[in-house]
Structure formats: C-alpha cells, structure tokens
C-alpha cells in the first residue's frame, strides 16, 4: 500500500515537473529509474545532455542500491541501478537482466587536522581495523607505520559509515573482507552491515558532510563526491603493495584486468585487483531491467538512453573521474540486450 502510494506520488511529481518544464508531450516517455547513489553524478549529467538532444528526460532517484533492487523487483521503476551485482541465479529467479554501465572508485576521506589530501596512506588491514574499532587513534602505530614522515595527532578516529543499504557499502565491505579475515568474520560484505562502532550517515552526501563536520573522522564516498567537495582523501596500498591515489587512471588500471567476456551475467567484482597502478576499491555500477518487461516501450526508451550514453557519455564521465566502459564491452552488452530482453519473442531494443 505504502509502495503504490509512493509510486503514485512520484508519478504525479514527475508529471507536474514535466508540465512545469513545458514538455508535456514527453511526460509519458520520461524514463524512471532508481538505485545506486554511486553513479548518480554521472547519470544526472548524462540525463541533462540527453534531454537537450532528445527531449526525453530521466527521473532517477538515488536512493541506494539496496532500495533500487527492491524498486525494480516491485516494478515501480523501468530500471534499477546497483553497485552490487546480483548473482546469476538471483537474476534468473527475478527475471532480470543485468549489465555494467560505468566504473568508478570508492575513496576513503579523512578529517584530520594538518593532514592534506593525499598526504595520508592507509592499507586494507588498517582500514578494516579502524572500522572494527581496533585502531582507535590517529597516532596508532599501525597508521604511523604506513606514514613514517607524518606527525599524526592523538585524536580519536571517528569512523563514519553509510547507514542505508548501498552499493558503496558493498564495495567497501567486500574489499575489507578480502583484506582482513577478522572483518570478514565479524562484519562481512553486504549492502548493509552491522557496524560495531562509528557514526551512521545517509547517502554519499551524508557521509561526506558528517566526515567534514567531525574532527578525526574517516569515511568512504564515491570519488566524484570527494572531488566535488574538495575532501582530503587517503592513498591506499593496493594488492601489489604500492600506494596509489584515486584517479580515473587508477580506476582504469583496476578495470583493465577484468575479464567481462567470461563473466556470467556480468557478475564481476573489481575490488582488490592486481596491478601496480590499480585502485583497490574500484567497482562497476550495474543496471537491472526485466527480461520480459511489463512496459516494453518504457524499457526501449531506457535502453536507447543507455546506448546513447555508451556512445556519447565517455567525455562527461571522464570529467567526473568515472571510467567509461571500453567499446568491446559496450558492444557485448548491446548484443546481450537483443538476445535477452524480449517482449512477445521480439527484442525490445532494435539498435539505433
């Protein structure tokens, strides 16, 4: 009951917005999607340009990957977005098709007096120990050992985490679980976990604000949020043992080793990849649509937008330090659409 009310309210809002913007003839073809906050900056940038060119708007609610998966399963939206890929078996059960849209990185951000962006280096086990509550102060020897040249204050570390179900949580906890057996045992990897310590904040925006606000805080946000807010980030020691800075290049390096062609349903997690230049908390963001869509027209519109974004979106993505997918991969995804997304036996998307 709650859900349908919300859906109706959303539809009403969308319609009102369309009328206000004076493009009422397109209100029926507005693409509705919901999910991950991680790719939200780039989706909204794409949507703005796409609307100017095609007149079709995107109504994307960045409510978190967990909620996005639930929304698509409830069929209130045309597509769901998640940074946590669904397992092939789950996809089959729900009748969904999944494909990657963009690659980005999760970045630890800090608020330590006297420590500027990129001055502090952390590694997986230490970050896990901080979030487990084992490393309590910034001048703890485990942090100090990674930063021999830095004078770290005797300030308590305030870990800030995402309190909502989120793909950023999944990437972060997946990485920490790979790096720290204790973290895997006590917390594990999921879109929402039980943190033993720290402050909860909602969304990437909330974590960014709370970290900026609290002295001694450490948080984790999608790189675009750290960049836009000029937040001091930390370098991470990757699997190869070298300290890397978050950037489009280091995300690209992590993504380059990914073998998409052999991944069933594109189920691939890019955290903790090999390679000297790889950013360890890299992840792809995925789109979920129905294999047999309840509204084929709307799904066709959505796929048209995604195809446009694959083709034209790369420069905009790079501006926000996301990594666009390579052409071979987008071609593979488009052939997946024709092969798997069908209505009455005919493919919903017929190419451009």
């Amino acid at each position: 009951m709650q859900r349908s009310n919300k859906g109706r309210a959303l539809a009403a809002l969308a319609a009102a917005g369309a009328v206000l913007l004076g493009c009422s003839q397109n209100s029926s073809t507005e693409i509705a999607g919901a999910g991950a906050t991680f790719p939200y900056p780039v989706y909204s940038k794409w949507a703005g340009t796409y609307k100017q060119q095609s007149g079709v708007g995107l109504n994307y609610q960045s409510i978190g990957s967990g909620a996005g998966i639930k929304q698509i399963k409830a069929k209130t939206v045309t597509f769901g977005a998640s940074d946590m890929p669904l397992k092939p078996a789950d996809l089959k059960e729900a009748g969904l098709v999944q494909f990657p849209m963009i690659i980005g990185g999760v970045v630890p951000v800090i608020n330590v007096k006297g420590v500027t962006a990129g001055a502090l280096t952390l590694d997986g086990p230490t970050l896990a120990a901080i979030y487990l509550g084992d490393v309590k102060k910034w001048n703890d020897e485990r942090v100090q050992k990674l930063n021999p040249k830095l004078t770290l204050p005797d300030t308590a570390i305030a870990p800030v985490y995402r309190s909502d179900g989120s793909g950023t949580n999944f990437l972060f906890t997946d990485y920490l679980s790979k790096e720290s057996p204790a973290f895997k045992d006590k917390i594990g990897a999921n879109a929402s976990v039980q943190w033993p310590t720290g402050i909860g904040a909602k969304g990437n925006e909330g974590v960014a604000n709370m970290t900026t606000q609290t002295d001694g805080a450490v948080g984790y946000v999608e790189y675009a949020y750290a960049k836009q807010n000029n937040m001091p980030y930390a370098l991470m020691v990757n699997r190869a043992g070298s300290a890397v800075a978050p950037s489009a290049e280091s995300f690209q390096a992590a993504a380059s080793s990914a073998d998409w062609s052999h991944a069933d349903s594109y189920y691939l997690i890019l955290t903790d990849q090999d390679g000297a230049g790889s950013w360890p908390i890299t992840g792809a963001s995925f789109i979920l649509v129905y294999a047999d869509p309840p509204d084929p027209k709307a799904t066709a519109e959505a796929l048209k937008f995604f195809a446009w974004a694959y083709k034209n979106g790369a420069p905009m993505a790079a501006e926000l330090s996301y990594v666009p997918l390579p052409a071979t991969l987008t071609a593979q995804v488009e052939s997946t659409w024709t092969a798997q997304i069908k209505s009455n036996g005919a493919p919903v998307w017929k190419g451009e």
Binding site: K136, A158, N190
Partner: protein, 319 residues
Amino acid sequence: MPVANAKHAGRQRSGEFFFRTATLSAAILVLGLLGGVALALLIGAWPAFSHFKLGFLTHELWNPVTDEFGALAAIYGTLMTALIAMLLAVPVGFGVAVFLTELCPRGLRRPVGVAIELLAAIPSIIFGIWGLFVLAPILQKYLQPWLIAHIGPLPGIGHLFQGPPFGIGVLSAGLVLAIMVLPFIAAVMRDVFETVPDVLKESGYGLGATTWEVIWQVVVPYSRVGMVGGIMLGLGRALGETMAVTFVIGNAHRVSASLLAPGTTISASIANEFTEAVGTLYTSSLIALGVLLFFITLTVIAAARLMLLRLERRALSAL
C-alpha cells in the same frame, strides 16, 4: 409578557442545546481522532509485530537489506536521551523558577522571564543545526575528553563515559533536549510558584524561616501538582522530539554502554528512514516503532496522573 418570557426561555434552551452538542462533538472528535490514530498505527505495524513477535522489542539488529528489524536500540536511545534531558533540565528549571519568583529583583523579572519564553519559541530544527555545527564540536573538543579522562576511569559509572569523543551521540542529544525542554519546565514552575498566596510565605518568614525553608516547606508542597505537570510536559516533549535529535545522535542502531557513543531514537529512526523504506516489513517496522513511542508516551502520562492522584490524596490525609 409571559409569552415573550416563554419565547425567551425557549430560545435559551435551544441555545443551550446547541452549545452542548457543539462542545460534546468537539470532545468526541478528539477521542475519535485518538482512537483512529491508534488503530491506523496498529494496522500498519501488524506485519512487523506478527513477523518478529516479542523479538522486535529485544533485538538490536536493524538491517534493511536482510529485512531484520529490532527496536531495542531505538527504545533505549529514546528513554536514555529523555532521562539525561530531565536530569539536567529539572534542577535547572526549578532553580530558574525559584529565582524568578522569590529572589529576582523586580526590574529583572520580566526580561529574564521573556527570555526563557523566547527559548521555547525557537523551532526544533534550529536547535538541531546549532547542536550539530556549534555544540557538537565544542563537546568533542572540551567536555567529552574531560569526561573520558576524569569520570571514565571511575568504577560504577565510568563505563558511561568511555570510548572516543565523536561530538555527536546519546549524551549530545540529551544535552540539546535538556536545553529544549528547560523553558517549558521553568515557565510552568514559575507560574505555579506565583500562585502560592503571599500570606503563606509571609507566615513562614514571620516564624523565622530562611528563604530556603520557605521554598522547600511552603512553596514546593503547595505547588507540587503543578510542578509535576510541568516536568511531564517537558518529558513528553523530550520523548517525542525528532528533528533536533536526528541531527546530533549519530544515527546508529546500537545499544552502547557509553553515553558518548552514537545511537538512535524512535522518532529519529522514523524521520530518517521512512522516505526510503521499501517493502512491507521495513515500512511496517517503522510504524511499529511509532506504536512503541505512542505506548511509551501514554505510559508516562498515565504514570504522571497516578502520581498526582497519590500526591493529592496524601496531601488531603495530612490535613
């Protein structure tokens, strides 16, 4: 003439009847609304209560992804923040009221009184923003490190003040609440103290009593009922306050031994999560939290009533 009188009387009667019906329906409307709210809450909360049963009250786990919900952390946070607020606000409010009615120079009485009433007029969202941006950094830098260093090591109560100083948390929320409920408590207490007849107080002084003795043995017993009323008004606000608490409590579904740790309250959880609650169980669990708050507030008011009745009876038997 008698005809006119009868007419007049008839008009009076019909007026009376109309007035009676109007007031009666107003009273019934309130009852109906209360019943309707309770019924709607119960219906909305039913899926959560029937799914988790009593475990809903005893579990701390709150995980929207795996659809497991327990209200323990929220209940604890609600009661604890309200308790801290009352512990701080009641003595201060009492002091303010005594000062204003008994000790304050006449010229200062109005300005101080108005200032306290103005404090009550500040919207709660302002308290929230102020709490997060001004109070929390001060607490984190000065008060909390002091508490950790000096009270933390003490046996017995030490565990309440251990752990890292985050600035926000249960204690900070309690402090903001204390400031918010203080004007209610102070204003009500001042008003009831002012109703104490001067004759009573003067006879006290005439017998050679000190100011303290007059306040404690004449003013307080005389205005006990009103004082409890003021405290309950404050407590009611502390239990239900949403926005200000949401800002400074840290939004963590955890029961921690330390008051410095982040936590959550019932109303803060609802405000934070209702907009994005998807699925029947999640929404229903939040409504179930609402039922619990309704129940807690009702219990508090009922307890207050009961206490007042007892006080009155004891006062009567003492006469």
